[in-house]
Amino acid sequence: MARSTFLGPAVTLALVAAVGVALPVLTQDSYHLDVATTVAMNLLLTMSLRLQLNTGQVNMAHISFMGIAAYASALAVTRLGLSFWIALPLAPLVAAAFAVPIGLVALRLSGPYYFLVTFAFSEVVRLVFNNFFVGLLGGASGLVDIPAPSPLLGLTFTDKPSQYWLMLMLFLLGAVVLVRLDYSRFGLLSGAIRQSELLAATLGVGVLRVKLTAFVIGAVWAGVAGAFFAHSHHVLHSSDFGLEPMVLLVAYTVIGGVGSVWGPIVGTILLTFTSEMLRELRAYETLVYGLVLILTMLFVPDGLVSIPGRLRRAWQRRRAGRADAMGVGVAA
């Protein structure tokens, strides 16, 4: 977890918030706002996914927790008559209730087995959304007519700008929590586990505890994104929580850089722009997008966010090289 960002966590976070706040002032175009809302939602999803990827393994179930919370929130509002503002905090807890058992199972495994058990779980959840409890979940034609968030303190959330503001606030809340976590002992330990799980264990770090915490906190914030998604898209379908959207989230996070809490932000924004730009290319879109993934991973394995760090270290090494030559060693 590279602590040494240039500007320190608080300033960087403020910068991100400033850009987010400035955006609706710059453009009222609903398409831009829609893309911006999706980006803000994906930022929350990738930052919470990074928490878990940072321990070094690919978790394919993250999108399922988003789905579970989305359906839970939609049903809480449409069937139980709860207000959105009650469903919003409850839905992530439902996701967490699923995340604890699955986490305990998955985290005892490593490498490919972890990937496969989370993949298996995500497919079971997708199949349930598509084929089972059809009366409740809407089955293959999806859950439709999910109302927009009910008004709060006189504010309504039915149009694009207001939904953007809501998602931006949810993202910033999540970002603050995730950044504080990252710059705390928890962040230090999960980064240590990623670099060498054995060394961390022999130094007294409760590896399973840290990993499970990352897994469940990740599921909670994915749940928040899910609740928002349900009430802003008004339609839920199993294809939104299948393999394709999940691998995209992993790509945003790893291309951005798993090693730093800022990695997913860089990855999500750049890759979302790339795919929107490539939208006209149709069949060539997936071709170019695939090449972008391959080339980035080969030339920048630690993700785009590691580039400034690498440049600075190269500069530092050149400076230090001169220092050693002058005999300023360590213990002399």
Binding site: S4, S184, L188, Q195, S196, G204, V205, V207
Partner: protein, 252 residues
Amino acid sequence: MLLELAGVSRRFGGLAAVADLSMTVAEGAIHGLIGPNGAGKSTVFNLVSGVLPVSAGAIRFRQAPITGLTPAEICRRGIARTFQATTVFREYTVRQNLLVAAQPRVNDGTLAALFRLRDYREREAAAVARTGELVSTLHLDLIADRMVAGLPHRDQKALSVGMALATGATLLLLDEPLAGLTLAETREVMDLLRTVRAGGITVLLVEHDMRAVMDLCDRITVLDHGTRIAEGTPREIQTDPAVIEAYLGAEA
């Protein structure tokens, strides 16, 4: 006795890396563990630190059994170790490496961390303070904030010993801390080990530099093919025929 191994063995398939080994380590001593390559020294470290489960026998620390505990639990009981191939967190700075090791007994309470509760802040401050002390005792001040990946091998070795100390352990298992060091650096680390012993910390030392072992250790256990062939003071070990035979091959 601080550490006791009773009839400990570890088999990999047919091969017995450690066979029915019994030995004890006195508190406050520097206890040498020597033997030719493949004698099972690193395996003993892996068994004591919980990285490998024993095939048979029991290990007791302060009279309490620790066989079967996880490496993290054993570390919290007070046993820290380094690895033969110096393993450190390469993407972290020196200070961050020490900080990871500095709080084994603190539960990594994330909620506490989240809301910066008072006791979390105190323990965090204590850890940072301890890290500061260690940086100076290990003379790592100049490179304290440099990324470990770029550091020369000797600094990384010093850091790995420092991290073992940072856990606040009372028993250190050091796996060849002097390997690859110059004469000056070897003397430097030996002084460090003496100050560590003076601070009441016990050291179990695996090392091939015989002069350093004979100079440093209070007692020495000699392993060959996984079993104990001798134990005693440095002088006794130097004159023990079984040891000479194991090291120099059947001369006579």
